[in-house]
Point group: C2
Chain length 355, copies 2
C-alpha cells in the first residue's frame, strides 16, 4: 500500500490480530528516538534547519530497501483530516499531526508496520507496530530500520549518555516499548488497580488507549517502560514481555472465574452490548468503545459468533471521528457523527450472532 | 373459557387492543361496590356470615345468563400462584388474592370482561374490563350484571346515601371508573407533572399501573374518579372519558413534536429498548416494563414492525412473577425469574424488526 491506500484502508498490519486464542494483548510497539548530530533539535531549530533535517531524513528513507522500503509524505501534502486518520491508526502522534507544514511528515512502509515520524519532538521517531505480543519482533524491525538509516545519517550520540534526545527521559537507548492490552475481567473483578500499582513499582507506565494523558476507555490499556537507560533494548523488551505475560495470565484467570461462576452475567453483559451496538441510532465514541470492549470479551469467550478480534480492532479505529468522516466523504458535526457511527457499526455487525 | 383456561391463557378480553391507531388508552374499567343488606359487611362479619354471603352471591351468579354467564371459584380451590395470576391479569385485587379460604372468591365470565369479587372489602365488587377507551361500554356491562344480580340479592341501599359500602369513600353510586394510559411523550417532555396536577384539581386520581400505592412504572398510569356521590354513573363515565380524551390529545401532540423535531432520538430510544429486550440474558420486571414502554411507543409510531399493541400488553402481563412461574411449570427464585423473563421476552419478540 502507498500512503493514500493506508489512509483509505480500514486495516493496517498491527490491527490484523489472529482469531482463535483470547486476544488479551492487542498490539505491540517499539519506538526509537533519534536526532541528527549536525542540526539543532526540533524544540530549538529554525525554519532552515527544519527543512534541512526533513530533506536529509527523507533522502535516507528513500534509500531504504526491501521490507523497510518507505514512502515519505510531508504534512502540507495531505489534509488535516488525513493526518488525523494517521493519528487514529496510531501511526503518528496527535501533537505531530497538528503541523500542516512541509517540514513535518512521516515515512511509512507498505503495511504501516514501520512508521518514521520526521521532526516530531526528536528529528526521528522510528516506530515498529505489530499485532499481538511481539515486542522482540518490533525491536528487530525498528533496529534494522535504524541501522539502514544510520548508514546515511549521523546521529547525536554520546559515549556515556547514549542517544541524545530532546527530552532527557528518552536518553540512552531512546527506546520506548509498549503493548496495548484488553483487561475487562481484571476491571470487573476490581483487581486491575492492584495490578497497575505493581506495574508502576516495576518501573512501567499504564496509560489509556490513546497514549499519554488519555483516560482508559473500554478496559483498554497501554503498558510501557519508563526507563531508557542502563539496559539493552533486547533486555528491556524481554522484561516487558515477561511482565505482560503475567498480567495476561491474571486476566485469563479472572475470565475463567467469570465463566465458571457468572456465565449468565457474562452472557447478559455481552448480549446487552451487542443489542445496543446493533440497534442504537446515536452513539458517542466513548460509549461505542465501552460496548466494543464487552463485545470483544464475548468474541474471546465464544459468546459472539461470526466476528474475530481483528474485526473489533478495526471497528475501534473506524468509529473515530476522522475515519467516520473519511468514509462518509463529508465533514460532520458531533451529532451527525453519532448518527453515522451507529450506522457504521450496524453495517459491520451484520451477519454476527449472539450465541 | 372457564376459569382454568383464563388462568392458562396469555390474553383476556381487556388485553385485546386493536392494532392501528396510537394505543394511548390501553384499557377501561368500571367497578361497582355492593353489599348484602342482611349480612354484616366483610370488615365485621363472622365465619358463618361469610359462608352465607359467599353462598347467596354464588347462587345469584349461577343464575346469570347469556353474555353475563359467570363461573365461580372459591379461593381454597386454586393455588396461591393461580390467584396471583388473576391479580396480574388485573381480575382480582392483590389484597383479595391473599385469602386462600372457601369464603373468598371470584366469578368470571367467559372472556373475563366481567369479574365479580366475592367478600372482598365489600360483599360484591362487580368489575367490567374492556380494551381501549370504552368507559360507557364498561358501565353498561357492569350495570347489566348488577341488574341481574339484584333480581336475587337484596343490596344495602339508603334513599339518601345510595349504595352503602365498607369504606365511606365508595358510597353513593359505589362506582369507580378508571382507564390505564400510556404517556411516554408527556413524560419525556416533562409535561406530565402539570397534566397530573390539573387532573387532581378535577377530582381525579392518577396512580401507577398496579393501582393504589403502586409507583408509576414505564410511563403507564391509571386515572380514576374519586367522587362517587352526587352524579349519575353515566355522567361520571362521560366526564372521565372527556378528560381522558384531552390527555390523549396532549400525548399525541407531544408525539408529533417528537416525530418532527427528534425523530432520530426517538428511533434511538426505541432501538436501544429493542436491542436490550432481544439480547439481555437477565432482566428484572421493573427494567422490562420500562423497556416495553419504549417499545410500545415504537409500535405506535411505526418504528417497530411485526408487533401490535396487544402483543406488548400481553408481554407486560406475562413477564410478571406468577405468569413466569406458571408458564415455566416451576417455582423460581428472583434470579431464576430474571433469566426466564429474558428468555420469554426473546421468544415473543422473535420475528419482530426495528425499522
Amino acid at each position: 500500500m502507498n500512503i493514500q491506500e493506508i489512509i483509505q484502508s480500514p486495516r493496517v498490519r498491527w490491527m490484523e490480530q489472529q482469531a482463535g486464542s483470547e486476544s488479551i494483548v492487542i498490539s505491540s510497539r517499539v519506538r526509537l528516538a533519534r536526532n541528527l548530530a549536525a542540526i539543532a533539535f526540533p524544540n530549538r531549530f529554525d525554519g532552515e534547519q527544519a527543512r534541512q533535517s526533513m530533506e536529509e531524513i527523507c533522502a535516507a528513507g528513500a534509500a531504504m530497501q526491501g521490507q523497510y522500503t518507505v514512502e515519505a509524505v510531508a504534512f502540507d501534502a495531505i489534509s488535516p483530516l488525513q493526518r488525523q486518520i494517521l493519528v487514529e491508526k496510531q501511526l503518528v502522534s496527535p501533537e505531530h499531526a497538528q503541523n500542516g507544514s512541509p517540514v513535518h511528515g512521516v515515512m511509512l512502509n507498505a503495511d504501516a508496520s514501520l512508521s518514521i515520524m520526521v521532526n516530531e519532538e526528536d528529528h526521528l521517531r522510528i516506530q515498529a507496530l505489530l499485532p499481538g505480543l511481539q515486542l522482540s519482533g518490533c525491536w528487530e524491525q525498528a533496529d534494522a530500520a535504524d541501522d539502514l538509516l544510520e548508514q546515511r545519517l549521523e546521529y547525536a550520540y554520546d559515549g556515556k549518555w547514549g542517544y541524545l534526545t530532546a527530552c532527557p527521559t528518552n536518553m540512552g537507548t531512546g527506546m520506548r516499548a509498549s503493548v496495548m492490552m484488553h483487561l475487562p475481567a481484571l476491571q470487573m473483578s476490581g483487581q486491575s488497580r492492584g495490578v497497575f500499582q505493581r506495574l508502576s513499582q516495576l518501573g512501567l507506565a499504564v496509560r489509556g488507549i490513546y497514549g499519554e494523558g488519555s483516560e482508559a476507555s473500554g478496559n483498554f490499556f497501554q503498558i510501557s517502560n519508563q526507563v531508557t537507560m542502563g539496559q539493552s533494548e533486547k533486555d528491556l523488551c524481554e522484561y516487558l514481555t515477561g511482565v505482560v505475560l503475567q498480567v495476561a495470565e491474571q486476566e485469563l484467570l479472572q475470565r475463567q472465574q467469570l465463566r465458571q461462576k457468572s456465565a449468565r452475567e457474562l452472557e447478559d453483559k455481552v448480549g446487552r452490548a451487542f443489542g445496543l451496538l446493533r440497534y442504537a441510532r446515536l452513539m458517542t465514541s466513548q460509549e461505542a468503545l465501552a460496548l466494543l470492549s464487552d463485545l470483544r470479551l464475548g468474541v474471546d469467550m465464544d459468546v459472539i459468533k461470526g466476528l474475530g478480534p481483528a474485526d473489533i480492532t478495526e471497528l475501534m479505529v473506524c468509529i473515530r471521528p476522522a475515519h467516520l468522516q473519511q468514509y462518509s466523504g463529508l465533514e460532520m458535526q458531533p451529532h451527525e457523527r453519532d448518527v453515522r457511527r451507529a450506522e457504521l457499526i450496524q453495517e459491520k455487525l451484520r451477519g454476527t450472532e449472539h450465541a
